[in-house]
């Protein structure tokens, strides 16, 4: 096809304008243009990492800090974010090299059977996760006395307003700004006056270890892994990179974006664990805590403003994730159903894209309002399901990123494959450990040497 007979769309024009700014900045020399180039090219990596510091993730970290205090889980969470970096780096290369979303590539390369399978996995996982995000929104705003229906409706309104920009760049900047609020857990942690010596020791020695493997320990372990490595992240980052228009020249920035996002998310995660560590020190039972209860329980240690910040942090975590996760579903649907899928689309042209996004979020929001649902349990199990769904998703990613026909010279080097294989082994091992803890809980005592 010659370039003179192609049809140019509104989406192409928007993307070309974004790329024009990148080209102009790249042509200039000096520190400031480099900084501006960095500003123009970052986004998907930070968004995906801070987006994954979502409601259930923050609740998992809060539960971890409250149940185990400062110890093994601090370096363990750092490790899970390193795993996330390994996995997400592959999506950066894949998106920049092919300019296509993850679901589209699976559909094209492996056929409709596996394409639909992976999309249904994603949709079901995303729907369950969205339910937990609305739980977090409800719980976070509940601290301030906002009624559940009002909280949930407000969140849907924010989601709709963010979409009204019809421009990927504007949408990305707004959500990036909101995602930075995730770091609100840092001042909350500082208010608890953590024992920095113990924190340093735990990060270096991985001690104290949890006292023997129990079903609860395994559940928290899996929930913490599921808080950092999940299937929607693969789909979202690759599609966002294609939508942003990144090319192979931008891969280095994409990597920095991902590592920076992981670093910020790690800081927020560790801060959340430190923030709830006083509950462990004072032997407070948090088994049935929702986010709002964590904030209330922390009030004697960090004051009303500290507790309010914690509750706001939980609300923000849920809100940003509602936006990013529902967007990942809409991207995947559009890619597989061959419908226009971009945040650059006006509503009329991207009706299916926007409708999938809004309908999925609205349905999840509705579920949260049903009285009597065991919300905390759902939250932890959703993270567990995310870990269990990860190995099949990673196999697709691994095969795509090693596919020379679509990746050319950008196929994974051996070290990247070894790391990816290591992540798969850890995930399958954690999944099997969870299986043993449920089916044969006594076997855990044998594993623990008791």
């Amino acid at each position: 096809m010659t370039r003179s007979n192609v049809v140019i769309t509104h989406e192409d024009i928007d993307r070309a304008h974004d790329r024009e700014r990148v080209s102009e900045t790249r042509a200039r020399r000096g520190f400031r243009p480099r900084l501006r180039l960095f500003w123009l090219l970052i986004g998907p990596g930070i968004l995906v990492m801070l987006g994954e510091n979502d409601g259930p993730s923050m609740l998992s970290y809060a539960a971890t800090g409250a149940r185990f205090g400062i110890g093994f889980f601090l370096p363990f969470v750092v490790l899970t974010f390193l795993m996330a970096c390994v996995v997400q780096e592959m999506t950066v290369r894949l998106g920049a090299a092919t300019h296509r979303g993850h679901a589209e590539l699976i559909f094209d390369r492996f056929g409709p059977f596996w394409g639909w399978f992976s999309m249904i996995d994603l949709m079901v996982g995303n729907f369950l996760t969205l339910v937990t995000e609305f739980i977090a929104i409800r719980a976070g705003l509940g601290f301030f006395g906002v009624r559940p229906a009002v909280a949930v409706l407000s969140a849907l309104l924010v989601l709709s307003v963010a979409l009204m920009t019809h421009r990927y760049w504007t949408w990305e900047r707004i959500i990036l700004g909101a995602a930075m609020f995730n770091l609100v857990f840092v001042p909350v942690a500082l208010l608890t006056h953590p024992h920095w010596g113990a924190v340093g020791r735990a990060l270096v020695t991985w001690r104290p270890l949890p006292s023997g493997p129990s079903q609860e320990t395994v559940l928290i372990l899996l929930a913490d892994i599921g808080a950092t490595v999940t299937p929607w992240m693969l789909f979202f980052q690759q599609s966002a990179i294609a939508d942003k228009g990144l090319t192979t020249r931008d891969i280095r920035f994409g990597r920095v974006d991902t590592v920076l996002g992981a670093a910020l998310a790690t800081v927020a995660a560790l801060a959340t664990m430190l923030a709830t560590a006083p509950l462990f020190i004072h032997h407070m039972s948090t088994a049935n805590f929702e986010a709002a209860e964590f904030a209330q329980a922390l009030q004697p240690f960090i004051g009303h403003w500290g507790a309010a910040l914690f509750a706001l942090g939980i609300f923000e975590a849920g809100m940003v994730a509602v936006i990013t996760i529902s967007t990942s579903s809409a991207y995947a649907f559009g890619e597989v159903a061959r419908r226009p899928h971009s945040l650059n689309l006006p509503f009329r042209q991207g009706k299916a894209f926007y409708l999938v996004l809004l309908v999925e979020a609205t349905a999840a929001a509705g579920l949260v309002l049903i009285p009597g649902i065991p919300l905390v349990y759902i939250v932890l199990l959703v993270n567990v399901i995310a870990v269990l769904a990860m190995p099949p998703a990673l196999l697709f990613l691994y095969m795509l990123v090693n596919d020379r026909e679509i990746m050319g010279a950008l196929v994974s080097p051996i070290w990247a494959n070894v790391l990816a294989l290591g992540v798969v082994i850890v995930l399958i091992g954690a999944g099997l450990l969870f299986g043993v803890s449920v089916i044969a809980p006594n076997a855990l005592a044998i594993i623990g040497g008791r």
Partner: protein, 63 residues
């Protein structure tokens, strides 16, 4: 669409970034080897089994 916009699109986007190109040219399907098929199905069975475990756990804790 103005001529200026057309020029911007043509100079700034790579050919396979254009929507019309993506719509008309899909990545060709690859043939899966027996080992790859086996791996796909093994992980699919693993997922179904583990989801069963999760359902079982929910059932036992609700009981």
């Amino acid at each position: 669409m103005s001529r200026e916009e057309l020029t911007t699109v043509m100079t700034e986007l790579e050919p396979d970034q254009l929507i019309s190109t993506k719509e008309h040219h899909h990545c060709p399907r690859r043939r899966l080897t027996r080992t790859e098929m086996l791996l796909f199905w093994a992980l699919r069975i693993y997922l179904v089994f583990m989801v069963g475990v999760v359902v079982y756990q929910i059932w036992t804790s609700v009981r």
